[in-house]
Symmetry: C2
Subunit: 357 residues, 2 copies
């Protein structure tokens, strides 16, 4: 606390990201990073961009990148005017909280969800109400139809990994027409249907995505949103009142290459999904309840061992997973899908931990 802080600074409860340990040789399955590198075309594009022009500002409108993203989604009829880009999807979400959610009714989001949402609410003074997941830890969109100043949920949800059918999202949008609905698709490419398919039908739908997960570029910081041009224009007004050039030349070049290389993207996500199914079966074999996942992680609990204890026992064995010390989910572990070697190391450490009383 400092007398030079605005009172709002003291009121904040900042988000705590998963640990980025300095230790080498850890099996790191705690922040849902992709275990494989990005497309070689991405690396080449970044290296070429570094060679020339770094003394010049990027295009403040990032038009080449927005065009590449629109082309990736051309089956859904997406145009560059329907695409917004930012310095990671967290920045894109922040602008949406600041500019698109109303303050005269509560924002609705799941009680168990991305823990950054309430942080944004405090930062921008957005009132909110959390809606409980059902007993199977699924989002029930019928519960989101009350008076609200906006709705946001991840699909698939994190940290549960559970996906919603697109028909449910469409039903919500048909009934909720007076506030903005944000579908946060950070993990969508690992097995859920994208709501980008609905962007041209619902002017109040904003879909956010990231290159951090399915395009193996958490280190690049690039996020995006797709929606009606008026929603995008609102985000642009916030962005242009905050930072004219949030996407640097290297992120732009890398992002364009990432959306262009469909082959690498498809192979990568299919590998992760196949390994997820194997890991799910093996965890079930060890007695775990594993929620059905459409993400690059699984959320699992053991009927007889506390989550905190297992997380600690794994850490002692040089494996880190994410544990949330929160109601309803304190006995779960969130385990990122790693390489086959990492997954084996995790399972072996886990078997060892379970064998200890």
């Amino acid at each position: 606390m400092s007398r030079f802080w605005h009172p709002r600074v003291a009121r904040l409860h900042p988000y705590v990201p998963g640990e980025q340990p300095k230790m080498e040789r850890l099996v790191k399955l705690n922040t849902n990073e992709n275990p494989y590198g990005p497309s070689p075309r991405v690396v080449a594009a970044i290296q070429a961009a570094a060679e020339a022009g770094m003394q010049l500002y990027p295009d403040p409108e990032a038009m080449a990148l927005r065009t590449a993203i629109a082309e990736f989604y051309s089956d859904f009829g997406i145009t560059p005017a329907q695409v917004f880009v930012g310095n990671g999807s967290d920045e894109v979400l922040a602008h949406a909280f600041h500019g698109l959610f109303r303050q005269d009714a509560p924002l609705l989001f799941p009680d168990i969800s991305y823990s950054f949402y309430p942080v944004y609410c405090t930062l921008y003074e957005v009132p909110f109400e959390t809606i409980p997941l059902d007993d199977a830890f699924a989002i029930r969109l019928a519960d989101y139809e009350g008076d609200n100043g906006g709705i946001i949920f991840p699909n698939p949800n994190a940290p549960t990994g559970r996906a919603l059918p697109l028909a449910d999202i469409q039903g919500l949008l048909e009934r909720n027409t007076d506030s903005v609905v944000v579908v946060d698709e950070a993990y969508v490419d690992f097995g859920a249907d994208s709501a980008v398919a609905l962007v041209n039908r619902f002017p109040n739908l904003l879909v956010t995505q990231t290159v951090s997960k399915s395009r193996s570029l958490a280190g690049l910081r690039l996020g995006l949103a797709m929606g009606h041009p008026d929603l995008i224009a609102g985000l642009v007004r916030i962005k242009d009142s905050f930072n004219s050039y949030p996407v640097d030349r290297l992120a732009s070049a890398g992002g364009i290459a990432a959306f262009a290389d469909r082959g690498h993207f498809e192979r990568n996500r299919r590998t992760v999904m196949a390994d997820r199914e194997r890991l799910t079966a093996e965890l079930a074999g060890l007695g775990f309840e594993v929620l059905p996942s459409a993400a690059n992680f699984v959320f699992a609990r053991h009927p007889r061992r506390a989550g905190a204890d297992l997380a600690r026992a794994l850490r002692e064995r040089a494996v880190i997973v994410r544990h949330f010390d929160r109601p309803r989910i304190a006995d779960f572990l969130r385990i990122t899908i790693g390489t086959p070697e990492q997954n084996r190391a995790f399972l072996s450490a886990l078997e060892d931990a379970l064998a200890q009383p």
Copy 2:
């Protein structure tokens, strides 16, 4: 305007950055970019960083980068806890407006200054009052000693290029002890004395800088602030409630190399300063009044030709400079120092334009 915007979105007057023209072969002297590329060590560091680890998040604390910056300023006793980094100095400034300026008294800044300041004030609802430059277009800090919720000014100022003596800044800090004073040093390396020298004496001083100008990295988006650890902690709380990882792996690697290569930095800035003195003399020879500049641009007006007309005539001759259609400065042109070839092309186009009635 959209019914899905928060009312604050409609109220914004977003910042308009200098044009980034798509045309080739323009002599582009409008956005104060460095005419030379960054250190080759920066390019090599970025290219190496792109090769491995891009699928992993950056260090959310950017400790290696903050350490490199603290080392650069070790003569002033700066430690990493006194350094904040962000996605360009515009983002760093935005967080300062959001978290460090009070709302119970007006923020003070010069009437002619960086035109992003009033934009941030609207975004974060910070009341402000502008203080006129004196008749020589200099900041007079004695005018900033009234009741205020904060003070911000660039040193050297933009778009005038005029620098303040460090003793004047010290005097202000000795008398203004109850609100935060931000010295925005985007251009400081081209001839002004840095207030980083005062950071260890005044707990309410924040100094912001960028790698965009003197380190030739406008395309990288990396800005920084130095101040008391409590001020830095306040900025970190805002940042961690907005975006955990604003500085990507490539910007971190490039930034570390940029602060390490003192030789390139010194040669670059001395070249630009020498070319500025030549250009100033040549403009004076053409009858221009040129304000004394400590930046990588000059601000100049002709006694008999309107600024808007000259800017237009230059553009017709494929040279772009920045013109602000605003009171007091409408007859000035802001001309970025280019390469000797660019400066000659500018002067030649200017002579041609002046020869036309």
